[in-house]
């Protein structure tokens, strides 16, 4: 059976060139970078190169502003908790949005138990954060604002630069979760005005088990994990050298190839969106029509459930998602879809295709051929479907 993978935001294949780059650091250059001997020296060189590749991917001023972690979730936890712990003398107010990843939302919830006040900014129907609300929510007590660069579930890209100007005008700091955004469009962390930025490796074709946090020089941050003082005292634990080298390689490949990737992804994305929306009645796009990630096709279909569409697609060899993999376990409609104002049943009818460069136009056409029939079949079985639609089956 033909297998088509369109769930790249949840997990992506590691680029073969990245795997090759990692290989020597598993079997040959296995020293602990903290040791004093030459085996360690080679591992240290590997770390150094990777750090500078990741720094240049986001145009950071210095490599030393990049700290490696075990995943983007850890980076988000560290950025917010670490910043709160170090800056609560200035205030105990943090602002975030209603469409953040669970790793941001749950850290914020945890902080409320520690006496922090959290405000959640609303978004419009396309998922664009309300900057007016940001201005009104900011007070002298506000120390940190956390806004994602782009939402992986609905594809919307947020106006980070404008947000950072507002945040900085009030002397607060800005954390940007760029997990879904990295590699999807060129990021210049200085122009964007982020003080802290979460980066993932898997989203750019690097391995799982490694992420990074950009922390602008001078940002006051407490470590989340204490120990041997790796990552210049900021993140302890023996460095995952092969993983970090892999992320570095993925970053430098992304740096070189990002233009071609975007062109290819956008073409497939637009073809898939058009194909689905024009061939299926009562189908809608989730998220912003133009301010959108090149790999993201988030759609919804009335009268039926995303989960059953997924199962049918899976049986036909197509892997997609109904939303964030991290919320797939709960049957509740995602908080992101509710935040853009979707009703319960509308949110339940959502499907998410996230493309990768391994996909081809034929894959897109295959899905465009396949899905209308699945939708028709499921609608015929659904009690919610209006008569004029079932009649046509």
């Amino acid at each position: 059976m033909r297998k088509i993978y369109m769930d790249h935001t949840a997990g992506a294949p590691v680029d073969r060139r990245v795997v090759s780059a990692m290989h020597p650091f598993l079997e040959a250059t296995y020293g602990n970078p903290s040791s004093a001997h030459s085996f360690a020296q080679e591992a240290k060189e590997g770390l150094k190169d990777a750090r500078s590749s990741v720094a240049s991917l986001i145009r950071a001023e210095e490599s030393e502003e990049i700290f490696f972690t075990s995943c983007a979730t850890e980076s988000n936890n560290w950025a917010i908790r670490g910043f709160a712990a170090r800056n609560h003398d200035k205030g105990r107010h943090i602002i975030t949005t209603t469409i953040e990843h669970m790793s941001v939302i749950n850290v914020c919830k945890h902080l409320t138990k520690q006496g922090f006040k959290i405000s959640y900014l609303p978004v419009d129907k396309h998922g664009i954060v309300d900057l007016k609300a940001l201005e009104t929510e900011l007070t002298d007590e506000t120390i940190l604002v956390s806004i994602m660069y782009a939402n992986g579930e609905i594809g919307t890209i947020e106006p980070i630069k404008e947000a950072s100007e507002i945040v900085h005008a009030r002397n607060a700091c800005l954390h940007v979760d760029a997990t879904a955004a990295i590699g999807q469009f060129p990021i210049d962390v200085r122009k964007a005005g982020a003080d802290l930025m979460t980066l993932s490796s898997n989203e750019i074709g690097g391995p799982k088990g490694v992420g990074a946090l950009y922390s602008k020089k001078g940002t006051r941050l407490q470590p989340l994990i204490f120990g041997g003082g790796q990552e210049r005292g900021m993140r302890s634990g023996t460095e995952n050298v092969p993983g970090i080298v892999g992320m570095g390689k993925a970053a430098s490949l992304t740096n070189l190839e990002i233009g071609d990737r975007i062109t290819k992804l956008k073409r497939m994305r637009d073809r898939l969106i058009k194909g689905l929306l024009s061939n299926i009645p009562y189908s809608f796009l989730n998220g912003h029509p133009s301010q959108r990630l090149p790999n993201n096709v988030a759609v919804r279909f009335s009268f039926i459930e995303g989960e059953s569409m997924l199962l049918n697609l899976d049986m036909a060899g197509v892997a997609a998602s109904s939303g964030s993999a991290c919320t797939a376990k709960t049957l509740e409609p995602s908080h992101v879809l509710r935040a853009i104002g979707l009703k319960h049943e509308e949110a339940h009818g959502s499907l998410l295709f996230t493309l990768g460069t391994q996909n081809a136009e034929e894959d897109v056409d295959y899905v465009v051929d396949l899905l209308p029939d699945i939708v028709k079949r499921l609608r015929a079985l659904s009690p919610l479907t209006p008569k004029e639609l079932t009649g046509s089956v």
Partner: protein, 397 residues
């Protein structure tokens, strides 16, 4: 000749482990939380890996959670316990020879207003059971003790410690990073409540650790998010890493016993050879020690200098823990044994692994005396009066 005797810092990844990991980079790359068949394959690999590792320590599958490193697991054990108990109830006792990640987690908690007690050790690094018993009288809720010392190799009598903890209703956490996969550990039989392990000390990959948490033992998560790992550790699972960890453990099942015999033989030969050097001393316990750990100290010279000179001779060793080699401070572990700063600074750790050969050990025995002699000739600290090697403690000038 290139000789790697720093296996306690990190080990090479066994080629069989690399092979087992390989498909999970570019073929089985789904997110284990996804519903698609790609996700199902990843999930299956994750759960099989968990089962393999749990079985090896006689734990149940759902008593093991994966982390990004052993350091994270130690942080999680201590902070997770502390925040679950709250400031008023929590009282943690750790030994004075813990790894820096346990020690620094405890110190951080202390700053946050949690109560921490430090348990002393004797000159060989063994906990004193009478003192432990006394200290536990004081409503200790968690005892954290390193099983096999990363620096001096001393193995603690966990069973005895567990009994005392149990009697006083304290939980027992052990950092078994150095001993897991080198010695048999049965968590149920011993009575361990929390145990930290990782992969890269047993021929698995870096970037993955795990924490065993016995059923009914409650801790708070350190990393919040999508609720992975039974809600205790969020973040997309590092499937290749976890699969590599499990494969490494599987290999341990086959190799551990034989390897321990070989390494004990090589270690003892190495210890005998090195202790021929004048004014050299073994650190740690003479017999209750990890099969792969030979640690020493030499009077009048600095361990760091020995390491650098050995490196020139092709030998990769360490002056102590890789994680504290940056600070330049004498090791807190050696100080806890009652050594003076000068004595502690003369430390050298040679930690062996399955790829070491007899020839390599002989090469070290040949090379090390020359290195020590050369450095002593340059040393500003003169031995006065000249003391002949003898048994027992000799004080440096």
């Amino acid at each position: 000749m290139k000789v790697y005797v720093d296996y306690a810092s990190s080990t090479p990844v066994d080629p069989k482990v690399v092979k087992a990991m390989q498909p999970f980079f570019s073929t089985v790359y789904g997110n284990a939380s996804s519903m698609s068949s790609f996700g199902v394959d990843a999930k299956k690999a994750l759960e099989e890996s968990r089962a393999t590792i749990a079985r090896f320590m006689n734990a149940e599958t759902n008593e093991l959670i994966f982390t990004g490193s052993a350091t994270e697991a130690n942080n999680l054990a201590l902070k997770g316990h502390a925040f679950e108990q709250g400031r008023t109830n929590c009282h943690i006792a750790i030994s004075t020879i813990e790894h820096s990640c346990t020690l620094n987690s405890a110190k951080w908690l202390e700053k946050q207003g949690f109560r921490i007690t430090y348990l002393p050790v004797d000159k060989h690094g063994l906990l004193d059971m009478n003192i432990l018993e006394d200290m536990l009288e004081d409503n200790v809720t968690l005892v954290s003790v390193i099983h096999g010392s990363n620096e001096i190799g001393t193995i603690q009598p966990l069973e005895e410690i567990a009994k005392i903890c149990c009697k006083h209703n304290a939980l027992l956490h052990t950092d078994a990073v150095q001993s897991f996969g080198r010695l048999p550990i049965d968590v149920k039989h011993i009575g361990i409540d929390l145990m930290t392990i990782n992969a890269h000390k047993l021929y698995g990959p870096k970037g993955v650790g795990a924490l065993y948490i016995t059923k009914n033992c409650k801790i708070q998560p350190l990393i919040h998010g999508g609720g992975h790992e039974f809600g205790l550790r969020s973040g997309t699972e590092n499937i290749p890493g976890v699969v590599g960890f499990a494969k490494a453990v599987e290999l341990r099942e086959e190799e551990m016993e034989h390897e321990a015999e070989c390494l004990t033989f090589l270690r003892d030969k190495l210890m005998r050879g090195v202790l021929e050097i004048e004014e050299s001393y073994l650190t740690g316990h003479p017999t209750k020690r990890l099969p792969n750990n030979a640690s020493f100290r030499f009077s009048y010279i600095e361990g760091e200098a020995v390491v650098l000179d050995l490196d020139i001779e092709g030998i990769a060793a360490s002056s102590g823990s890789a994680c504290s080699s940056k600070t330049g401070e004498p090791s807190h572990v050696l100080m806890a044994l009652g050594l003076k700063p000068d004595e502690a600074r003369g430390s050298l750790r040679l930690s062996l692994g399955k790829y070491n050969t007899l020839e390599e050990i002989e090469y070290i025995i040949q090379t090390l005396p020359k290195v020590v002699k050369r450095l002593r000739a340059l040393s500003p600290i003169e031995p006065k009066p000249k003391i002949r090697p003898q048994t027992g403690k000799i004080k440096s000038a």
